[in-house]
Every structure is written in structure tokens, then in C-alpha cells.
Symmetry: C2
Subunit: 343 residues, 2 copies
């Protein structure tokens, strides 16, 4: 995106926050959403970065999400809680849920929080990283609207259902996994359509569930593992639906109103999330954990890559490197978002 306009995180944050406030968001909602969007933009996950402010502002105005949600949190047991997001934007609820999980984990060793009546929450890694920054392991999942087929299925059933885990690394940025359970996101299909290019093999199916590389005919995504091993990706997507939605009282993927492919932008969707925080000190102990994590990452990063002269990367390495670069260069902003943010 080097051809794009670049903005500093400070300026971009201010404009994003203001755009959300102008759309009616409460201060808490605007702050949490801005923080989550900037997180994704800073580490290079532009699909979940500030460009989403255009969509969120529209949803605040159309009534799908509440402008001033009143989160209802309830501790259901010493190590568990529920957050009713009151049909607000998901970011505010997710940050609060992770705070709760961390509070409980400090007392009981692990804390688990279900979030219901929520909406899109951006990159789930944003909340997992909060745990790692507090010295804990964070795990976050979210369900989403159906656009991934089952194994040998003929209909889109699960969402791209992401899972993130972040683990603290002493003296370094966290180990950070944040992945959808499909091979590619549906936005990639739209991109290939606009470019007139064929899709990679084994990632999408037509409306009948047959494999296709024709971006125009692609109607749904295949689960991770593709035509051969997609029962694993579909199983993981199901695990995430059960934790995020079945367990929390949210709407399951195939019944969710589509995020964008719908005419209904006024009805709340009731998306669900599931959040765990784990205290390493309550397992092997802090010092031993830190040492083992260093050992693991040192060994991993020393493995030669199949690309000559390179070594392999751990999950998160690329993202934190991008964040360093973007501190210097600013964050690229696409033309539509730039116009919307009056940059």
C-alpha cells in the first residue's frame, strides 16, 4: 500500500474517534473501537483496521448497534462471568470482558467470560494482546455470519470464526496468533473479482459447494484444510461457534444477519465472543514459564527457512515488525477511508 496516503497513529486515532463520536457513539464506545482499530492498523492487519470505521459509523446511524450501550456484567462463579453487550459495538464489550477475565485469573488462576448481544469486534487479537501485556495468556474467539461451507457441504454455514491467543514473552512483544478458520477471508474473493484474477486452488466453492477458482462464481469459502482436510477447519469453526455463541446465548452463525450482505442494517445481530485469561504463575511458575518461552522461541527462530538466507518466524513476528515500521512511516490509509476521515 505504498501508493497510499500515510497518517500517524495519533492523527488517525483522533479522526477515527471523532468520526465515531459524530455518528453518535458514546465516549466509551468511541474510545474502545478506536483502540481496537488502531491496533490492527498498526500491526498491518488493514482488513480489520481503521477502514472499518466507515462501516461502524454507518451501523451506529442505521440502528443495528446502539450508540450508548450499557454493558451488563455478571460474575456467575469465582472464575466465570457473562457480559451482555447491550447491542453495542463489540470492541467495548471485548475489552471489558478481558479486564474481567484478567481480574478473575489473578484470583483463581484462570478466568472465562462469555459475551453475548454483541456485534463485530474487529481483530480478536486486540483483546488477547491485553492479557499478554498483563503477563497472562489470553485466548479470544468470536463467531460470525455464515460464509464458510462445511466439509463436503453445499451451504455456507459457519463464519470465518477467528481464534486468537497471545502469550507474554519476557523482554519482547508477545507471541501472537490471530487466525480465521477458513484459508482466506471473503474480502479476498472480492479483491480477486475486482482484479479479474483466478482464486488460489482449494479455498472457495460455488453456490452448489463445488470447488472453484473462478472468483465470480465463488459463493462461499472452504474451511482451513480445503477439499482434503477441511473437516479439521470445519471442526475448529464449530468449536468456536459452540464457545462463542451456543455457550453464551448469542445467535449461531447460520442464523446471524450478514454483516454486509443484507438489506437489514437496523436489527441487532447478537454476535458472541468467548474470552479466557490464564495466569502462568499458577502452572509451572513465572520464572520457569519465561525461560521455557524464550527457549521455545529461540529454537524456533533459528530454523532455516526454505527461502535461502532466511529463518522462520513465530506467530506475531511479522506483525510487530510492521508496527515498528509504521511508527516511522505512518499508517497507510486507503482513499475511501481517507475521504471519510477528512485526511
Amino acid at each position: 500500500m505504498t501508493e497510499h496516503f500515510h497518517a500517524s497513529a495519533d492523527v488517525l486515532g483522533e479522526r477515527t474517534r471523532n468520526a465515531l463520536l459524530e455518528a453518535g457513539a458514546s465516549a466509551e464506545t468511541a474510545e474502545a473501537t478506536t483502540q481496537a482499530l488502531l491496533y490492527a492498523s498498526e500491526i498491518g492487519v488493514d482488513s480489520h483496521g481503521v477502514r472499518l470505521v466507515v462501516h461502524y459509523a454507518a451501523m451506529l446511524r442505521s440502528g443495528r448497534v446502539k450508540k450508548n450501550p450499557m454493558l451488563k456484567t455478571s460474575r456467575t462463579a469465582p472464575a466465570t462471568a457473562m457480559v451482555d453487550a447491550d447491542d453495542g459495538l463489540g470492541h467495548y464489550a471485548c475489552y471489558r470482558a478481558m479486564e474481567l477475565a484478567l481480574e478473575m485469573a489473578a484470583q483463581t488462576g484462570i478466568g472465562a467470560v462469555g459475551v453475548m448481544r454483541s456485534s463485530h469486534c474487529g481483530a480478536v487479537g486486540a483483546y488477547a494482546v491485553k492479557a499478554a501485556e498483563a503477563g497472562m495468556i489470553g485466548i479470544v474467539t468470536s463467531n460470525s455470519d455464515a460464509n464458510v461451507t462445511l466439509f463436503n457441504g453445499t451451504k455456507a454455514f459457519h463464519g470465518t470464526n477467528p481464534i486468537a491467543m497471545a502469550a507474554p514473552v519476557s523482554g519482547q512483544r508477545p507471541w501472537l496468533l490471530d487466525m480465521a478458520t477458513s484459508s482466506i477471508p471473503f474480502n479476498r474473493v472480492r479483491l480477486y473479482r475486482s482484479l479479474g484474477l483466478p482464486l488460489p486452488p482449494d479455498v472457495a466453492a460455488d453456490a452448489e459447494g463445488n470447488l472453484t477458482q473462478d472468483a465470480m462464481r465463488a459463493a462461499m469459502l472452504l474451511p482451513l484444510g480445503g477439499a482434503g482436510y477441511g473437516f479439521k477447519g470445519a471442526g475448529l469453526a464449530g468449536m468456536i461457534t459452540i464457545l462463542s455463541a451456543v455457550l453464551t446465548g448469542a445467535v449461531i452463525d447460520p442464523r446471524l444477519i450478514q454483516m454486509t450482505e443484507t438489506r437489514d442494517f437496523a436489527t441487532p445481530r447478537n454476535v458472541g465472543h468467548f474470552i479466557i485469561a490464564l495466569e502462568p504463575a499458577r502452572f509451572v511458575g513465572r520464572e520457569a514459564f519465561d525461560g521455557a518461552m524464550q527457549d521455545y522461541l529461540t529454537l524456533l527462530r533459528a530454523v532455516p527457512s526454505t527461502r535461502p538466507g532466511e529463518t522462520v518466524m513465530a506467530p506475531g513476528d511479522r506483525e510487530w515488525k510492521t508496527a515498528e515500521q509504521r511508527k516511522l512511516t505512518g499508517i497507510p490509509v486507503d482513499p475511501d477511508t481517507r475521504q471519510f476521515l477528512k485526511l
Copy 2:
């Protein structure tokens, strides 16, 4: 395996237990191991079924695993515990760890247990199912010796690191996911070698990390997602290593003594496991959970398959169906295992 000899679960269980006792296993070890092996044999996961008794008996005799391990369990916080498996067989430790997790989850809503100084524990689903049978959600992971490459890596680094989740379904057998984070197990490579057949594409690499379908040249497995999206499978394998080994004080995958490809069958390996139990009643509530789970599975099982006349299956459906069949037909036993068990 219709050409195989078949034995009833009762007879097979008795012979398996006796073989372990003859190899010196304590009554507790023999009982737990037999239960876990029979579980896998009953549901059709023969790779993790009774055939493993031959290996386990050898390990009891060679000194890698202790015949009469004294499990040391410690509650480290209200919702967390550690189990030191005392270098015994993994099954005994894993059943005990799941019992502990369930006890804690009944009190605190969620319980998490790390297991260290363990060994191979068979199919991790065996322990997850125990949670579902108690009305809870169970999640179980284990690390294992290196035979899966990293994304673009040139060395085997992670194990096939399985994850299992089981969720209770009112009036039915549990929803049950039990999967390795590689596309295929290494035993499949050995099978293709013996058959003289080429491997499927995108599942294995040669000793330099280059994709190969030549079973004779295959030196390691690719992570789930293959050459294109294997960063996801590798990330999941890493998540499982961190939870099962880094967090518990077990040995990380690339430092583990190989399970079979080694001359050292006398040194304990210190494999690690991680076990979570979750109480649905502490989230959306028991009744709502049961209803949502039914709704989810009814919708899923109604989706037409790409195979004419069929519908798709949920994780576990095939396994429970096999279990019903094998109640009638008995369990197939391969010739080597039959001879070992004197059947």
C-alpha cells in the same frame, strides 16, 4: 479391516489389561490405559486403539515409563492445578487431571490443569469425552515429538499436537472434535511407503523442507493448511505446545525424545498435556445451552452433502456410529496385536 479378527470390547479389555499388568503396570495404570485404548478402538480410531498396548508394554519393560507412578496433584489456585505424572503412562494422569478439572469447574465455573512428566496419552478425545459425560465442555491438548515442519521451515519442529473438545448434547452422544494439527499422521507416510503409493499432495516434505509426494523421501509432515496456509496449522501447533509444555514444565516438542524413532527407550520423555473443563450452567445456563446445542446440530445435520443423497456430519457423528457398529461386530484386531494379546 473386515479381513481382521474381531474381538468383543470385554475380551479385548481383559487381554489389554492383563498384558499391561504382565509388563509390570500398577492396577491404576493398567485400568486407565485400557480404558483409553478401548475408547479409541470402539470409535474406530484404530491408530490410537489397542494396538498401542504393544508399544506401552515395551516402554514399561524398557524403563521409559514407570510401572507404578505416584501422581502428585497440587491445587495452585481455586480454578487451577498441576499434575506431576511421575513419568508414568499418560492415560492415568490425564483421567485424573480431567477429574480435577471437573471438580474445580463445578465450584468455579472453569477448571484448568497442566500435566507434566507424562508420556504418550493415546487419543486426547478420551478425556474430553469424560467432561461431556459429566455435562461439561472438555478441552484437552498434548504436545508430542517433532515431526511437523514450520511454515516454510526446513526441520521437523512441532509434534502433530492434537486438540480435542467435547460438548454435551442432551439425549445424544457428545459433539466431539479430536484432531492433529498436521493434515495426516506420520503413520500414514509409513503406510504409503509399505504400499508403494504416492502421498496426497501438500501434506509432507523431504529432508530439506521441500514438498514431496514421494513417501520414501517424505521426512516430515506439513502443518494443516499445507504450503499455502500452513502458517495457521503451525500457529495452532505452537498454541498447543505453549499450553501443554511451556506452561506446564514439560519438554518442548523439538527437544522431546522421539516416541519410536530413537534408540533410547529408557529415559523418561516428560511430555505435557493441558486440560480444561467448563460448566455451561455458569454461562448461558443449562437449559438454554442444551436448546442451542440441539438447534445448532439439527441445522448442521440438515445441510445436503456434495455427495448426492447424503447430509453432512458433525464432529463425532462418524465415531459414535462406528461405536454402535462395533458393539455388534466386535473390534477388529490386526495380526501383530492379536498375537501379542494371545487372541
